[in-house]
C-alpha cells in the first residue's frame, strides 16, 4: 500500500512546483495538475481495493515518527480510503471539466485546486484537532480562490460571504480546541476520546465550540445562506467539489468529533441533521434556479447523513454502510448533476429540457436523480431501508416520520424537474456531448451503477441488480438503438419465456397475477408493433414496470416486495410521462405512489421489529401493539396504487394522457399491483382494530365510496379516456370492497374483477385510443357516427361495455352474481347501498361512451376516417374472444382459485358441478344463459332480416325532426353534457373537494418554503447573525439547556 503521506506531499509539492513554471506554460501546468490528481486517485483506489480485498483493519500513520500526543497522526482505513477516493476522483474529474477556466486562469488556479483536494483529503485522514483546524482553514482559503473561477460576477460576493462565515468558525474552533487541549492535555482525537473530557461543563463547552464549528462546515439549515450562494454562483465543476467532496469531508470530521463527545451528543447531531433535511427540502420546493436547487438538495442530504451519524447508538457497526450509502449516493449524484448543469444554457430548471433530444444525457439525468432520491437498485435505497428499520424498532417514530416526509418533498421537486426535462421547450445545449465535460458526467453515471452493484453485494438483502427481471429490463437500455418492432418482439418473447420458465412457481392466487403481468402484458404489447421507428426510452420503461410487477409477486420478504414496488412505480412513472401532456399528471402519480411507498416502508419497518426485513407471511405474527398501525400504513400504501377515493386524483390524468398502448397497461395491468398488495396484507393480517374501529370495515366503506364516486365522476367526463380512467377508480373500489368483505366469495369476486377489469379495460383503452388516433381528439362530443367507419372498434367497445356493465350473458355478469352471493354472507349492510347505486351508474357512462363515439351523427371532418390500425385491433379481437370464452366457461381459471381460497376461507366455496355453478344461496348456468339468449336473439334477428331484406340504408339526415330537415351533424348530435339531469340532481357530490384538499397541501408547503427562504436575504451580515443565532439555539437546546 502506498503510504498516505505521498499523495498529500505530491499535491503540496506540485502546487509549489507549478509556481516555478512560466506563466504562459499553461498546458504543461495543466498536465501536471491532472497527473497529480490522477496519481492521488489511483493511490486512493489502490487503498480501497487493498482494504476491501484483505479485510485489513485501519492503521495509524505517525508523521514525525512519534506517537501522539507528541506528533500529528493520520489514520487510514476503509472509510478514509473510500472518502479519499471520492474526493480525489471528484477533484480529478472536476479538473478535467474545468479545463477551459483553468487554462485561462493559469497555474495559480491549478495550484489552488491541488491544495483544495489535498486539504480535503487531509481533513479526512487527520486524527489531530489542530491539524483539523489547519486543513479547514486551507479549505477555506482554497475555496475562496476557486469560487472565483466562475464567470458569474456574483460569485465574488458569495466567496466573501463564505470568508466572513469562516472567520466566525475559526474563532469558535480555535477557542474550543485550546480549551479541550487544556482539559485533556492532548490534541489527538482518539486520546481525547479516551480521557472523556474530565472538566464537567467547561469541557462540554469546549467540545461544543469545536463541534458546532465543524457542523457549520456541513452547511446546516438555516445557518447556510453563504453555501447556497456559492452553489448558485460558483463554477459548476467547483460546486461539484463543494457538494461532493467538501460535504463528505466535513461530515467525516463531525463523525470524528462525535467520537470525543460520546453518546450525549448524538441527539444533537440528529436534531441538526433532521432540521437540515426537512428544512432544506422544503425550501427547495419553490426554487427557480437549478444550481441553487441542487445546493438545497445537497444540504438536505448532508443533513440526512448527519442524522445517520447521530443514530450511531442504534446502527452500531452498520453506520458505515448506511451513512456511506447515503453519502456516496449524494456525492456522485450531485457531482454528476453539477457537471451536467454546465451543458444547460439557462438556469431555470425547465431549461433542462435541452437534454430532451439526447437519450444518453437524459439517461444520465435519470440515473443521477434516481440515485439521489434513493430508488432501487441504488445504494441510498438500501441505506434508507436499513436506517428506517432500527428507527422503527427503537420507537423513534418522529424522526422516522420526518425522514420520510423530507424524502417525499425531495422526490417532489426532483421529479418535477425531471418532468420539465422531458416535456418543456428544448433550448440548445451549450456545448457538445462529445466532450470531456460530458465525459465526466458519464463517469459519475458509471460510478452510480457500480455503487448500486456494490451496495447490493454488501447488503444483507438480495442484490437487486442481479434479479433476472430487472436485469432483463435494464438490458433494453443497451438495446435502445434497435427498431421498435424488434424490441417489441424481444420484449414479448421475454415475457412469455419467463412465464414458461416460472409458471410452476405460483399458487393459484399468484398465478392469476402472473398471467396478467406476463402474458397479459405481452398481449397488450402486440399493439406496440404499430409503432414505427425506434421509440426511444419506451422499452426500458415498460420492462422496468413489468419487472417490478413480476418481482412483486415473486417476493417473499418485505425488502424484495418493497424494492419491487419502487421499481414498478418508477417504471410506470417514466411510461406515463411519455404522454404528450402528461407532465403534471405523471408527477402527481409519482408523488402519490411514492408517498404510498413511504407509508409502506414505515409499515414494514414497524412490523420487522428490528430485523432487517420480515417475511410476508410473518406479518401475521406482528405484535398486537403495532399490528393495526402496520396494517393501516401498508393499506394506505396499496390504496394509493388502486386510487382509492381521496388518493385518486392522480389517476384520471395519468391514464388519460398516457400514450395509446400505455393507457391499457397502466390501467389494465398496473392497478392490479395495489390489489395484490391488499390481498397479501389481508391474508396475512386479517382484521385489525384501531381505536375501536375495525379497519377492514373501514376498507369496506372506502371501497364502496370509491366505487360510487368513481362511477359518478365518470359519467360527467367529456374526454373518452378520462371517462375510462374514472371508471377504473370505480372498478378498483368494487375490488377493494370485495376483498374487505373477508369472505370466500368476496375474494373470488375481487379476483374475477382483477381478470375482467384487465380484459375490458385493456380492450376499451385500445379501442378508444385507436379512435382518438384516427379522429385526432379525445373529446367525445366531437366524434359521433363512427360505427360504419370503425366497425371492429365498435364491436370491441360494445362487447366491452356489455361485459363491464354486468349484463348477461357476458362475463361481467358472473362477477355480479358472485358479488351478490358474497354480500349475502356479510353483516355490513350500509356500504352495500352505495355499491348498489354505483352499479347502474356504470351504465350511464358506458352508454355514453358507445353512443357519443360510434352512434349518432357522423361529423363532416370524420367522413374519411379509417378503421384503427391492424396491430391495435388485433389484441382487441383477442380480448373479445377471451371475453366470450370466459363467459361460457368461467370455471376454467376460477374454480382453481375457488379451491385455493378454501384454504383461507373454508366456508362458502362454490360448487362447480357440470355446467352449473351453485353457491349457498343461488345458482347460475352460463352456458344455458348464453344459449337461451343466443337462440332467441338469432331467431328474431333472422326474421327481421328476412322481412326487411329489401330495406335500404338511408342517408344520415333522413330522420323525422319536428318538420325540419337537420343539415349539420354538430347541432344534431346530442352528446355534450349528456347527463345534464344527473348533474343537476347529484352534481354536488362531485365537487372537486379532494383535488382542492391536496392542492391546498401542496400550496401550503410551497408557501412555507417561499416564506422561509426569505430569511436568506443575501446580506452577509444577516448570514452571520443566522450563524450566531444557530450556535446559541443549539447551545441552549443541547448542552446549555441541560447544564
Amino acid at each position: 500500500m502506498v503510504s498516505a503521506i505521498y499523495p498529500l506531499a505530491a499535491a503540496l509539492a506540485s502546487a509549489f512546483l507549478l509556481g516555478l513554471l512560466h506563466e504562459r506554460q499553461r498546458a504543461p501546468a495543466y498536465a501536471i495538475t491532472l497527473g497529480v490528481l490522477g496519481f492521488m486517485t489511483l493511490t486512493a483506489a489502490s487503498w480501497v481495493w487493498g482494504f476491501a480485498q484483505t479485510g485489513q483493519a485501519g492503521f495509524e500513520i505517525y508523521t514525525a515518527g512519534v506517537a501522539p500526543p507528541f506528533a500529528i497522526s493520520l489514520r487510514l482505513g476503509l472509510a478514509e480510503a473510500s472518502l479519499m477516493l471520492l474526493i480525489n476522483l471528484t477533484g480529478l474529474l472536476s479538473a478535467i471539466h474545468l479545463q477551459a477556466p483553468l487554462l485561462a486562469h493559469g497555474r495559480r488556479a491549478m495550484a489552488v485546486l491541488l491544495i483544495a483536494v489535498m486539504a480535503l483529503g487531509g481533513l479526512v485522514m487527520t486524527r489531530d484537532l489542530f491539524n483539523l483546524f489547519v486543513f479547514i482553514e486551507l479549505i477555506v482559503i482554497a475555496t475562496g480562490g476557486l469560487v472565483l473561477l466562475s464567470d458569474d460576477p456574483r460569485a465574488v460576493v458569495a466567496g466573501f460571504k463564505y470568508l466572513i462565515i469562516s472567520q466566525l468558525v475559526t474563532v469558535f474552533l480555535l477557542i474550543g480546541i485550546i480549551f479541550a487541549y487544556h482539559g485533556t492535555g492532548t490534541l489527538n482525537i482518539d486520546g481525547m476520546a479516551m480521557t472523556t473530557m474530565g472538566l464537567a461543563s467547561g469541557g462540554a463547552l469546549a467540545f461544543f465550540l469545536m463541534f458546532i464549528a465543524v457542523v457549520i462546515e456541513t452547511k446546516p439549515f438555516p445557518a447556510n445562506g453563504w453555501a447556497l450562494d456559492i452553489y448558485e454562483s460558483a463554477h459548476p465543476a467547483f460546486a461539484a467539489i463543494f457538494s461532493a467532496a467538501s460535504a463528505a469531508a466535513a461530515l467525516f470530521a463531525v463523525d470524528k468529533l462525535l467520537l470525543i463527545g460520546g453518546s450525549d451528543w448524538l441527539p444533537i447531531a440528529t436534531g441538526i441533521g433532521i432540521l437540515s433535511f426537512v428544512g432544506a427540502n422544503l425550501l427547495a420546493l419553490p426554487q427557480t434556479n437549478d444550481r441553487r436547487l441542487l445546493g438545497y438538495s445537497s444540504i438536505a442530504q448532508t443533513g440526512l447523513v448527519l442524522v445517520v451519524l447521530g443514530q450511531r447508538d442504534l446502527l452500531g457497526d452498520h453506520t458505515l454502510y448506511v451513512a456511506g450509502g447515503l453519502l456516496l449516493a449524494n456525492a456522485v449524484a450531485k457531482a454528476g448533476l453539477f457537471w451536467l448543469s454546465d451543458l444547460i444554457p439557462k438556469r431555470e430548471p425547465a431549461a433542462w429540457a435541452a437534454l430532451r433530444h439526447h437519450p444518453l444525457a437524459l439517461f444520465a439525468f435519470a440515473t443521477l436523480l434516481a440515485l439521489l432520491v434513493g430508488l432501487p437498485p441504488f445504494p441510498s435505497f438500501y441505506a434508507k431501508w436499513d436506517l428506517v428499520h432500527p428507527l422503527a424498532d427503537a420507537g423513534r417514530l418522529w424522526l422516522l416520520g420526518l425522514i420520510l416526509f423530507g424524502t417525499l418533498l425531495e422526490a417532489g421537486y426532483l421529479f418535477r424537474w425531471f418532468g420539465y426535462s422531458l416535456k418543456r421547450e428544448a433550448p440548445a445545449l451549450t456545448g457538445s456531448l462529445v466532450s470531456p465535460r460530458f465525459g465526466v458526467v458519464l463517469v459519475a453515471v458509471a460510478a452510480a451503477w457500480l455503487l448500486a452493484l456494490l451496495w447490493g453485494e454488501l447488503s444483507v438483502h438480495d442484490n437487486l441488480l442481479l434479479a433476472v427481471p430487472l436485469a432483463f429490463a435494464l438490458a433494453f437500455l443497451a438495446l435502445d438503438w434497435l427498431p421498435a418492432r424488434v424490441k417489441n418482439a424481444l420484449a414479448i418473447t421475454g415475457l412469455v419465456a419467463y412465464f414458461a420458465l416460472t409458471y410452476t412457481d405460483y399458487d393459484p392466487l399468484r398465478m392469476i397475477f402472473a398471467v396478467i403481468f406476463l402474458l397479459g402484458s405481452a398481449l397488450t404489447m402486440l399493439a406496440g408493433f404499430d409503432v414505427q421507428g425506434r421509440r426511444p426510452g419506451f422499452y426500458p420503461s415498460v420492462m422496468l414496470m413489468l419487472a417490478g410487477l413480476i418481482m412483486l409477486i415473486r417476493a417473499t420478504d418485505s425488502f424484495a416486495f418493497f424494492a419491487a414496488w419502487e421499481v414498478l412505480t418508477i417504471g410506470s412513472y417514466f411510461l406515463i410521462l411519455r404522454g404528450k401532456r402528461s407532465e403534471p399528471h405523471a408527477l402527481s402519480y409519482l408523488l402519490f405512489s411514492f408517498g404510498g411507498a413511504l407509508a409502506m416502508l414505515a409499515g414494514f419497518a414497524l412490523a420487522a421489529q428490528g430485523a432487517p426485513s420480515i417475511e410476508l407471511v410473518a406479518l401475521a405474527q406482528v405484535a398486537e401493539s403495532v399490528a393495526p398501525w402496520v396494517f393501516l400504513l401498508l393499506a394506505i400504501g396499496f390504496m394509493t396504487k388502486t386510487a382509492a377515493i381521496g388518493l385518486h386524483i392522480w389517476l384520471p390524468g395519468a391514464h388519460a394522457e398516457a400514450e395509446l398502448d400505455v393507457s391499457p397497461m397502466v390501467s389494465g395491468i398496473l392497478l392490479k399491483a395495489g390489489l395484490y398488495g391488499l390481498m397479501v396484507l389481508l391474508l396475512a393480517m386479517g382484521t385489525q382494530r384501531l381505536a375501536g374501529v375495525d379497519l377492514v370495515d373501514l376498507l369496506l366503506w372506502i371501497g364502496a365510496l370509491t366505487a360510487f364516486l368513481g362511477n359518478l365522476m365518470a359519467i360527467f367526463q367529456e374526454d373518452a379516456k378520462r371517462l375510462l380512467a374514472y371508471s377504473s377508480i370505480g372498478q378498483m373500489g368494487y375490488a377493494i370492497f370485495g376483498l374487505a368483505l373477508m369472505n370466500h366469495l368476496g375474494w373470488l369476486m375481487a379476483l374475477m374483477f382483477v381478470i375482467n377489469h384487465y380484459i375490458y379495460k385493456s380492450m376499451l383503452f385500445l379501442a378508444v385510443g385507436g379512435v382518438a388516433r384516427r379522429t385526432g381528439t379525445r373529446q367525445m362530443f366531437l366524434m359521433g357516427g363512427l360505427i360504419t367507419l370503425m366497425p371492429l372498434s365498435f364491436i370491441a367497445v360494445m362487447i366491452g361495455i356489455i361485459a363491464m356493465s354486468g349484463v348477461p350473458p357476458l362475463s361481467g355478469f358472473g362477477g355480479r352474481w358472485i358479488f351478490y352471493n358474497a354480500i349475502l354472507a356479510t353483516d355490513a349492510r350500509l356500504p352495500i347501498a352505495l355499491i348498489f347505486l354505483s352499479g347502474p351508474i356504470a351504465f350511464l357512462y358506458l352508454f355514453r361512451l358507445i353512443h357519443t363515439i360510434f352512434l349518432g351523427q357522423l361529423k363532416d371532418e370524420h367522413r374519411q376516417v379509417k378503421e384503427a390500425p391492424f396491430w391495435i385491433l388485433l389484441p382487441q379481437m383477442i380480448y373479445v374472444a377471451i371475453l366470450i370464452v370466459a363467459a361460457l366457461v368461467p370455471g376454467l381459471l376460477l374454480r382453481h382459485v375457488d379451491q385455493y381460497l378454501t384454504e383461507f376461507f373454508p366456508f362458502g366455496a362454490l360448487n362447480w358441478e357440470g355446467l352449473r355453478i351453485t353457491s349457498d344461496f343461488g345458482y347460475w348456468n352460463p352456458v344455458a344463459i348464453m344459449l337461451t339468449i343466443g337462440v332467441i336473439f338469432m331467431l328474431l334477428l333472422s326474421w327481421l332480416l328476412f322481412v326487411n331484406r329489401r330495406a335500404q340504408k338511408v342517408k344520415q339526415f333522413n330522420i323525422v325532426f319536428s318538420a325540419e330537415r337537420p343539415y349539420r351533424p354538430e347541432t344534431t348530435h346530442f352528446a355534450w353534457n349528456f347527463f345534464a339531469p344527473y348533474r343537476k340532481a347529484m352534481g354536488f357530490l362531485v365537487q372537486p373537494l379532494v383535488t382542492r384538499f391536496w392542492d391546498l397541501i401542496t400550496q401550503t408547503l410551497h408557501g412555507i418554503g417561499e416564506m422561509t427562504r426569505r430569511i436568506y436575504n443575501g446580506n452577509a451580515q444577516t448570514y452571520a447573525f443566522h450563524l450566531i443565532g444557530f450556535v446559541v439555539v443549539v447551545f441552549l437546546l443541547g448542552p446549555g439547556g441541560t447544564a
Binding site: 349475502l824 347502474p840 352512434l855 349518432g856 336473439f937 330495406a951 338511408v954 344520415q956 339531469p981
Partner: protein, 301 residues
C-alpha cells in the same frame, strides 16, 4: 333442475299465454284510463289489430346494423326475462328456463333490452332518441336502486337467491307474503316499480315521444312490431318478478292474471293522479323517499 327438450314447447306456451293476456290487459287498462277521462277509448282488440298491421308492413329503410339490432335486443330482453323466471309456482310446465339462473340473472337481464334498445335507437342519429335515452337511463338508475335494495332485503330475509324457493317460503296463506313479513322492502320495491313503468309521474322519458316519439322515434313497421310485442311482454315479465318476490307468486293462471292486473293497476292509479316530474326531480324524489326505505329494509333485515 336440468334441461329437457320438452321445456321448449312449454316455454313457448308460457310466452303465448302471457302475450295474449298482455295484449288484452293493456288494452283494458287503456280503456279504463279513457273512461276515467270521459272518453270512449279503444276497442279491446285494438292491440291485436295494431300488431297484425305492423307485422304485416314491410319497411324499405334502415339506419344501420345497430338500428336493426335494437328491437331484437329489446324483445330478446323481454322474452328472456319472462323465461328466466318461473311463472306458475309448483308447475313444471310453467317454471320455464329458470334452471339457467336465479334472481340475480333476472335483475340484471332487465338491462339487456334497455341497453340494446338504447344502442339501436341511437344509431338512427335522431337527437330525440338520444335525449330520451339519457333521461331514461338517468331515471332508471335511481329508480332501480330501491328495487335492488328491496330484492337484497328479501334475499337476506329468505337466505336464498332462488326465486322458486322465495315463492315457496311465502306459501300457506297471504299473511306469509313478503308484503306482510317485510313491508319495508315491499314499499321500497313498489316505489321503484312506479319509476320503471313509464307512467306519470315518471314518464318524462317518453316525453320526446309526443314531439314526435322518443327513443323509438325512427322505428316503424316490423321494427315497431317487435317493440310493441315487447311493450306487452316486458312489463308483465317484470311484474312476475315482483309477484314472485313480494306477493306470494301464483299457483295457477287465474291467480296469475289477477295479481298481475292488480300490481299493474298500482302504477296506473298513481299515474292518473300525479303530474309529471322532470328527471332531476324524480331522481331527487327517489333519493329522498324510496332509497331510505330500501336502506332501512336491508339494515333491519
Amino acid at each position: 333442475m336440468t334441461f329437457e327438450w320438452i321445456q321448449i314447447p312449454y316455454a313457448l306456451l308460457t310466452i303465448f299465454i302471457v302475450l295474449n293476456y298482455g295484449l288484452l290487459m293493456t288494452a283494458l287498462i287503456a280503456k279504463i284510463a279513457a273512461r276515467v277521462g270521459r272518453r270512449h277509448g279503444i276497442p279491446i282488440w285494438q292491440n291485436y289489430a295494431d300488431l297484425v298491421k305492423n307485422y304485416g308492413l314491410r319497411s324499405s329503410i334502415t339506419h344501420g346494423v345497430m338500428f336493426y339490432m335494437g328491437p331484437v335486443f329489446r324483445l330478446t330482453g323481454g322474452v328472456g326475462l319472462l323465461l328466466f323466471v318461473p311463472t306458475i309456482y309448483g308447475s313444471v310446465m310453467f317454471s320455464n328456463l329458470s334452471f339457467a339462473g336465479d334472481l340475480i340473472l333476472a335483475l340484471y337481464f332487465v338491462f339487456f333490452g334497455t341497453l340494446g334498445m338504447a344502442l339501436g335507437a341511437a344509431e338512427s342519429g335522431h337527437p330525440y332518441s338520444a335525449i330520451g335515452i339519457t333521461r331514461g337511463l338517468s331515471q332508471v338508475t335511481m329508480a332501480e336502486l330501491p328495487l335492488a335494495l328491496a330484492v337484497f332485503a328479501v334475499a337476506l330475509h329468505y337466505q336464498t337467491l332462488s326465486i322458486t324457493e322465495i315463492v315457496a317460503a311465502q306459501q300457506g296463506g297471504f299473511l306469509n307474503w313478503t308484503l306482510f313479513t317485510n313491508p319495508l322492502a315491499v314499499a321500497a320495491a313498489m316505489l321503484a316499480f312506479l319509476g320503471s313503468m313509464m307512467r306519470p309521474p315518471f314518464d318524462v322519458v317518453l316525453a320526446p315521444q309526443e314531439i314526435p316519439i322518443g327513443p323509438p322515434t325512427e322505428y316503424h313497421s316490423s321494427y315497431l312490431a317487435l317493440m310493441q310485442t315487447n311493450r306487452v311482454l316486458f312489463p308483465i315479465a317484470k311484474i312476475v318478478v315482483y309477484m314472485n318476490l313480494f306477493f306470494g307468486g301464483a299457483t295457477s293462471w287465474p291467480e296469475f292474471f289477477i295479481k298481475v292486473f292488480l300490481i299493474y293497476m298500482v302504477s296506473v292509479l298513481v299515474g292518473v293522479v300525479f303530474p309529471r316530474f322532470r328527471v332531476e326531480q324524480s331522481i331527487r324524489w327517489f333519493m329522498i323517499w324510496a332509497v331510505p326505505i330500501g336502506i332501512l329494509a336491508i339494515v333491519l333485515a
